[in-house]
Symmetry: C2
């Protein structure tokens, strides 16, 4: 065994999260480093989905809205996600896509900021949907959208700024932005901070309550393993809930949804972020998937995540010829999410060959190899193998 192989074995032996892997369906001959795109299947989810379909839908039918807890699923599952992102209960509802939740959050933030603040800032390096949706939110609330890099945000904030939409971790490079200090800067300017947690929730502590974040959104199919296209979530800070004025006031956000009243009276609390009938099959698959977090601390996950990405960078340095790849991921821990992005010529072709050899990451146009490290099911031997195979593929 190589020295790195021995190191990996020792790290795995000491890994307090190593036992989590058996809760997931992953073949032993596969190194799955694409959990930042689609989390692996928790082994108990198929049985739970079958129960939802066969018994709850097939036998109980409409009774399940009450008896199987369908109606209250959005807020119940929100409360299950809450501790993972540092939120007290009663501030998160699950439902709709991330894009739709970005729209709710940015529009609501702009409205709370008041009419005289006419600019919305958006992370210019963000996953594109956030930019497109923020542009629509700006257009429909009479604001101007201004794309800026996160580093430039403090210098651009002014008394014209209504809201700022930022990504916690950049989807491409894996850069972790400084949520506490950026949120504080936004607040100092009198504006509201909206954070997109797609690439951080479930991989590192977020601290929404602690850092005073106003609104946040995130998906659940990456590090939360909710399944393909599983519903996203919306966080509305307690202090803002009474003023949260949704652009999508569906009947599920009404104070008396079954009253079928012609006039709209918003529900109290986080329920105000709901819209239409919740998508039960996907939502309850997510609820089941979240059970893998029972007894797991997000701090332990973060510690292992950093150890995994450190070790991967070390393996890449050892196995891959000098100058063949360039890391886009910040070396400093405080600026790194749970992925490593390597720039490489022919990245699309290289990723195909990696996948053929059982190392699954993904390719991001035009030249990025992206490797995501999910601490609940990726081990150090996986990491050593990924680095070694990458070295072999790059010859």
């Amino acid at each position: 065994m190589s020295e790195l192989g021995e190191r990996a074995a020792a790290l795995d032996a000491a890994d307090e999260l190593a036992g989590s892997r058996k809760q997931f369906v992953i073949e032993d001959d596969v190194v799955y480093l694409d959990g930042n795109s689609l989390g692996a299947l928790p082994a108990h989810v198929p049985g739970r989905v079958e129960d939802v379909v066969r018994r709850q839908w097939g036998e109980l039918r409409i009774r399940s809205w009450e008896e199987s807890g369908w109606w209250t699923a959005p807020e119940r599952i929100g409360d299950r996600i809450a501790p993972l992102v540092g939120a007290a209960a009663g501030q998160i509802v699950v439902g709709d896509s991330t894009s739709v939740n970005v729209f709710k959050a940015v529009v609501a933030a702009a409205r709370m900021a008041g009419e005289d603040r006419d600019e919305i800032l958006v992370d210019a390096t963000t996953f594109p949907t956030d930019g497109y949706i923020a542009e629509s939110a700006a257009r429909m609330t009479g604001r101007t959208l201004r794309p800026v890099t996160p580093a430039d945000v403090p210098g651009v904030l002014s008394d014209r700024t209504a809201a700022v939409l930022l990504n916690h971790v950049d989807y491409r490079t894996g850069r972790l932005h400084d949520l506490p200090s950026l949120t504080a800067a936004v607040h100092a300017a009198g504006a509201l901070a909206v954070w997109d947690l797609c690439h951080s929730a479930g991989a590192l502590p977020v601290g929404l309550d602690e850092h005073g974040v106003d609104l946040a959104v995130g998906c659940t199919y990456k590090y939360l393993n909710g399944g393909p296209g599983s519903p996203a979530y919306l966080y509305v800070r307690h202090a803002h809930q009474d003023r949260f004025d949704s652009p999508l006031p569906g009947w599920n956000s009404h104070a008396d949804p079954f009253g079928m009243r012609a006039d709209f009276e918003p529900a109290p609390g986080a329920l105000r972020g709901r819209v239409g009938t919740p998508d039960i099959l996907s939502m309850l698959a997510l609820e089941a998937a979240l059970e893998v977090w029972d007894g797991v601390s997000i701090e332990a996950v973060r510690a292992k995540s950093l150890a995994l990405t450190d070790f991967f960078l070390e393996c890449v340095a050892a196995y891959v010829g000098e100058g063949r790849v360039e890391s886009l991921t910040p070396p400093a821990h405080e600026r790194r999410g749970s992925q490593v992005a390597l720039r490489c010529p022919d990245a699309g072709d290289v990723m195909k060959r990696l996948i053929e050899r059982g190392v699954v990451g993904d390719f991001r146009h035009p030249d990025v190899l992206r490797f995501g490290f999910t601490p609940l099911y990726v081990g150090f031997a996986d990491v050593e193998r990924a680095g070694r195979v990458l070295g072999e593929v790059l010859g």
Copy 2:
């Protein structure tokens, strides 16, 4: 056997759709008349969902976006719904909730109508979410919302009207509105017609293309049996697609979604109605559920639906004491959907007792018993039993 019981047996024997019932999971001792709230489970759906979860997600993981057809599911399933609502292919995408699709449709319609048309009309008798969402769409496009009853629409239309949002079948009374003539009246005023098909699609012919409907939305968990909270759909007429300007331009509606470009360029065609990552578990359960329509004509469904509701009204007249209930559902076939709504004191309590005796309808505040008739799995003996049990419960 009573005379009505004999009639029911004869009607069932002659029913060309009687064979469809075996495709659904319904116990023999249950009369399920709530398919207009949640359609029954098609028997082959659990196995298909299991394959999606265990193999497509669990084994293929991200490869399924291409290999299992996940990415193209919204438009593929839209094309499967299209013939049921009289639409040619390429005009429907599936995704999001009905409420979210109402928002897209009404905002886009107002934008297409032009700035000088400053009023949006909405069916005052509609399911409330449509009114709430239309109010938001009006507010965010600088229009005034004006609620009117469908009968009053022709008299209220003017050169100020931008768009009109109407329900095809009223959720409460089961009244079927005259889609062809109302659409023609809206067009004569130079406005756009948006129809909500939640309570008509799958129960009767809609004729979207034939009648020149501009935009339409609908849910899939009622007569289309897609499962609890299954994704809704959006129809955008071919002629309008190039001008369809979505308020929710997520990355899935981009011409080059994986280009991850900062500038938004809308996709051609119906894809423009997509928003975020599609919710695969629910969406593919719906796709499987739609197979029950193979070889079924919506005209045959309509003929049976009217025969069922006629027969139910006849049974109610025979079994229920004079004056105990009052039908809110229009007697004329051309004004009747696929449900019967009976006003009755203590309707909530009456419905509980019906359900205890195996006759499942639902209660709508304050005094309505609602019975939905799904021709694919409700037979005439069911109807006779429902009428008889109602008579017994009302003593």
